[in-house]
Amino acid sequence: MSAGVELKDVSVTFGSFFAAKNVNVKIEGGEFFSFLGPSGCGKTTLLRAISGFQDPSEGQVLIDNKDMLGIGPNKRPTSLIFQNLALFPLMTVAENIAFSLEVRGVSKPERMKRAGELLELIALEGQGDKKVHQLSGGQKQRVAIARALAVEPKVLLLDEPLSALDLKLRQRMRTELREIQKRVNITFIYITHDQGEALTMSDRIAVMNEGELEQIGQCDDVYNNPLTPFVATFVGENNPLFGKIKDLSGDEAKIETSDGVFISSIDKSTNLNVGDEAISFVRPESLFMVKDGNDYKNKLSVKIENIEFEGNVKNFYASLYSGSKIKFSVANAIDTSEIEASSQIELCFDTSKSIILPKGALATE
């Protein structure tokens, strides 16, 4: 059983500070939904509003179309996995998992049976008698999930649960979480500052900045068609080219920058007019090198400053004529051995692979 969660105009204030501001989002039952945003942007606050630990200063939280006002965390059909997991160190693994049943007065044999089933779900059969500190990081993670699932919640809330794990384990846990979600078939609301996590696991994501939702959508859509400069630079990497709109025609626009005039795609909803200040964004993987760029519309001439070998790709850091920096990546399969620091080369990009947005704050990371 899963339930939808709807936030209507939710604001949370601490004093005069808005930790969340006018948040509107409708999360469907059974969805894997992520809130993605930099640390301190209000993600935890929002999750606490859903779980009932934080009353919104304004607006409504609806779960299964029911207003949750005045309903405490222990009465909501949600289960929260804390950032630090908050397993009970003085209880055994099985007692941890069965705690929610214990407080509901379920008999001990029945509790332990259910704990056994859940241990099986998380591939820790027979380890119920261990103490929490005897488990590895990944195992603790899974116990926290099992403990949260024991209540049979309709919505599972996860507060950056993978942030303490090392890279390899984190990647494995992503797959595992997604699989568990499919198996138990309930709504997962996941928060993270790691865009890789959000993009790989989620059905949809909401990008959050300074308490506000900047964009909600499917992962590829948010990645390919960001609506704000913040989203463009926070989700994946993006090179900004600052300039003014020179011409508009359909879903393309001409932007004049100090490094040349470029034609990029533009979304009609952005409401830009000729003469407005704007930014054209090009991703590092969308820039390609050309020997003789005369045939291309969007040309940049750059001087290589630094080269970084990452394995599957090589990253090049270069400066433009105007002095602004640009990054581009080339798949390792392509031979780039003749390019070295201080080489002067030409780069191009497709109109469809760049996007013009109104001027605004970029993500700083």
Binding site: S51, F53, G72, P73, N74, K75, T78, S79, L80, F82, Q83, N84, A86, L87, F88, L90, M91, F99, S100, E102, V103, R104, R147, A148, A150, V151
Partner: protein
């Protein structure tokens, strides 16, 4: 103690001479102020009560007489047992247990509130207002309570004055003043270990329990109290030890016809000039207190290291 003696960092941080000074000071303190007097008392408790001048003379011999007296009473008495002293002793122990429990019950919610609910500024204010009364010495605090609880005291005057009661309640006669005074006397020694223990609990633990459907009571029972157990045992042992050995508070607040065991000890030492018997009674109290504390630690499965921490 162990950490002080055996860790190098203390030496490194403070330099050899300072560290050596502390080491010597502590050893001296322990030997001269704790061990030697106790051993002297232990020795005295097994000796006949004689004037100092006759020490080493024919009347100076070892005897169990003082311990025998505690149990069976004076040889000339008709009773089979020393009902009076045993009664005082038993009552002291039992009342002390209840005082300790009451102290715990009183301090736990406050300590929890200060540690986990109050804002930092409220918490500071509460801690200060708990501490300030203890700038006044124990004797004066007891007299203040006596003024409150006396038959013609503040409480009775107010209650009869506004007509709630026709007649004052005999707080002192029924030892209400004594119990209140004893609970109040060592409240900080319960409060601080409790506060420390609860303070170190991760708030997420409490919220996690709640999120899993736990009631407030059960959250305390299953999460907060187990975590705070070393603090609880530490507070209880200190309060019990000091209550059982309290003198000033009972002297001021006891009803005239009941005695607190340390008052009995005081009488043997000072009024009856029988240091040997006083020593024997002290040793009995010490042994029973230590046994009590060890039992408590056994029951609650707490090790001494956890208490000191």
């Amino acid at each position: 103690m162990k950490s002080l003696f055996f860790t190098q960092p203390f030496f490194q941080k403070n330099g050899k001479s300072v560290a050596l000074f502390f080491l010597v000071a502590i050893v001296f303190w322990f030997i001269f102020l704790v061990i030697i007097p106790q051993l002297y008392m232990l020795d005295l408790s097994f000796r006949a009560n004689i004037p100092p001048l006759e020490r080493g003379g024919p009347k100076d011999f070892y005897t169990l007489e003082h311990y025998r007296h505690f149990v069976f009473g004076s040889k000339t008495s008709a009773d089979a047992y020393n009902f009076v002293d045993l009664g005082v002793f038993g009552r002291t122990i039992i009342v002390s247990i209840f005082v300790t429990i009451a102290n715990l019950a009183f301090c736990y919610p406050i300590a929890f509130y200060i540690a986990k609910i109050a804002t930092p500024s409220t918490a500071r204010l509460l801690i200060v207002s708990l501490i300030i009364p203890f700038w006044i010495n124990e004797l004066l605090r007891s007299f203040a309570l006596r003024i409150l609880f006396a038959n013609e005291g503040v409480i009775n005057n107010v209650l009869t004055g506004i007509g709630i009661l026709d007649q004052g309640i005999l707080f002192i006669t029924y030892d209400v003043g004594l119990y209140t005074g004893l609970i109040y006397a060592y409240i900080l020694l319960m409060m601080f270990p409790l506060y420390n223990a609860i303070e170190s609990l991760d708030v997420n633990q409490i919220e996690a329990a709640k999120d899993l459907g736990s009631s407030t009571f059960r959250t305390h029972w299953r999460v907060v109290i187990p975590h705070a157990k070393p603090g609880i045992v530490s507070g209880c042992t200190m309060v019990f030890m000091l209550t059982v050995g309290a003198l000033a508070t009972p002297v001021v607040l006891s009803s005239p016809n009941t005695l607190w065991f340390p008052q009995l000890i005081y009488q043997w030492f000072n009024l009856n000039d029988n240091w040997s018997r006083g020593s024997a009674y002290s040793i009995i109290l010490l042994i029973v207190s230590v046994v009590f504390v060890l039992t408590m630690m056994r029951i609650f499965k707490v090790r001494i290291g956890e208490i000191i921490r």
